[in-house]
């Protein structure tokens, strides 16, 4: 009872703080100084029409590298926590062979038809990250949703661990290499201007941004796929 009272008092105090913040809130009618700088100088300096991309990939590129690292560590943590001993795994695959029912022909055909389109859409989203809404993380999430679809529709399908690990490591490594090339040929780490900025608004423009977002998209997509695969094995293991 006392515990409940404490929780109630704490939530009431939080609500009071939030109420004060909200009642003193006035919508701003102009950009902050930093935002103004990015909006004014971003298009010329970076060459990307999507200003959020310009901020994420170049102005705050180091944050994004940290973000990719956090995602990598959490994927590695999931892998470490959900691993099983090999002997146990073999027993379970034997067991799960009996319990699994094959998917119907409709589900199989629909998966074969839709999966390439979902992956293509993911690639489109991360390739066009500097031109339209979207980017590496969003495109990666779409690719991972394709993997989720595959695992739900055809539970017995097998994802190659090695392929996932190699692609993920290579794209992560290339991301850092592109960042270092910025130090050598341009203004600093993750500077996108070591490549030609190109025609403003073209697919291959904005320097290294499409390259960086491709690596980020591949890395995020494969990482999330690996996480989904881990949870899938857990599910089929206990069945």
């Amino acid at each position: 009872m006392i515990k409940r009272m404490f929780i109630f008092i704490m939530l009431a105090l939080m609500a009071f703080i939030f109420f004060n913040l909200a009642s003193n809130y006035t919508e701003s009618d102009s950009l902050s100084k930093l935002g103004q700088y990015y909006v004014e100088k971003g298009p010329q300096e970076i060459g990307a029409p999507n200003l959020v991309t310009a901020v994420v990939v170049t102005y705050r590129g180091l944050d994004t590298l940290g973000e990719v690292t956090v995602l990598f560590i959490s994927a590695a943590g999931v892998g470490l926590l959900l691993r099983r001993s090999r002997r146990k795994q073999d027993e379970q695959t034997k067991k799960s062979d009996i319990t699994h029912k094959a998917a119907s022909e409709i589900v199989e055909t629909a998966t074969e038809l839709l999966l390439p389109m979902i992956i293509l859409f993911g690639i489109y989203v991360f390739m066009n990250g500097h031109l339209s809404p979207g980017g590496g993380f969003q495109g990666g999430a779409i690719i991972a949703s394709g993997t989720m679809f595959l695992l739900l529709a055809l539970p017995e399908s097998h994802l190659s661990r090695l392929m996932i690990a190699v692609t993920e490591s290579l794209s992560g490594f290339s991301y850092v290499v592109v960042g270092v090339l910025g130090v050598i040929w341009a203004g600093g780490f993750l500077d996108n201007r070591f490549m030609e900025l190109g025609t403003y608004g073209d697919l291959f423009s904005a320097g290294a941004i499409p390259l960086i977002y491709t690596f980020v998209g591949l890395k995020v997509g494969f990482e999330l796929s690996a996480v989904l695969d881990r949870f899938r094995q857990e599910e089929s293991g206990s069945a």
Binding site: R4, I7, Y25, E27, D63, E67, L71, L81, G135
Partner: protein
Amino acid sequence: MNILADFPISLIVLCSGFGLILLGLWGMLTQRHLIRIIIGFSLMDTGIHMVMVSIGYVTGGTAPIINDAVPMSEAVNMVVDPVPSALVLTAIVIGLGVTAVMLSFAVRIHRAHKTLMIDKLTESKW
């Protein structure tokens, strides 16, 4: 609808975000089931994202993407702040990673104890 029209749109988003934060905190503090606690965390996370996005809103602003509708010369007066949007993008991905790790801990706990009720996990009680 008339009452809502008096408030700026970002204030509504801000208050919804605060509401989600409180709801998530309440869930994390009162629920005894691990999955529900994780759902509470996700709700709080989403609430924080909404608060962050609403702070970047500029009256009448549109998405910070330069195109035919938003010419480069007038963009400063037409778009919302791109910085909070970029920060929220980061925060969403990190929230996802944290949730995945929490869920795999829940799986491990269930494997060891065959339960997800935190009352039954007595070895961590004091």
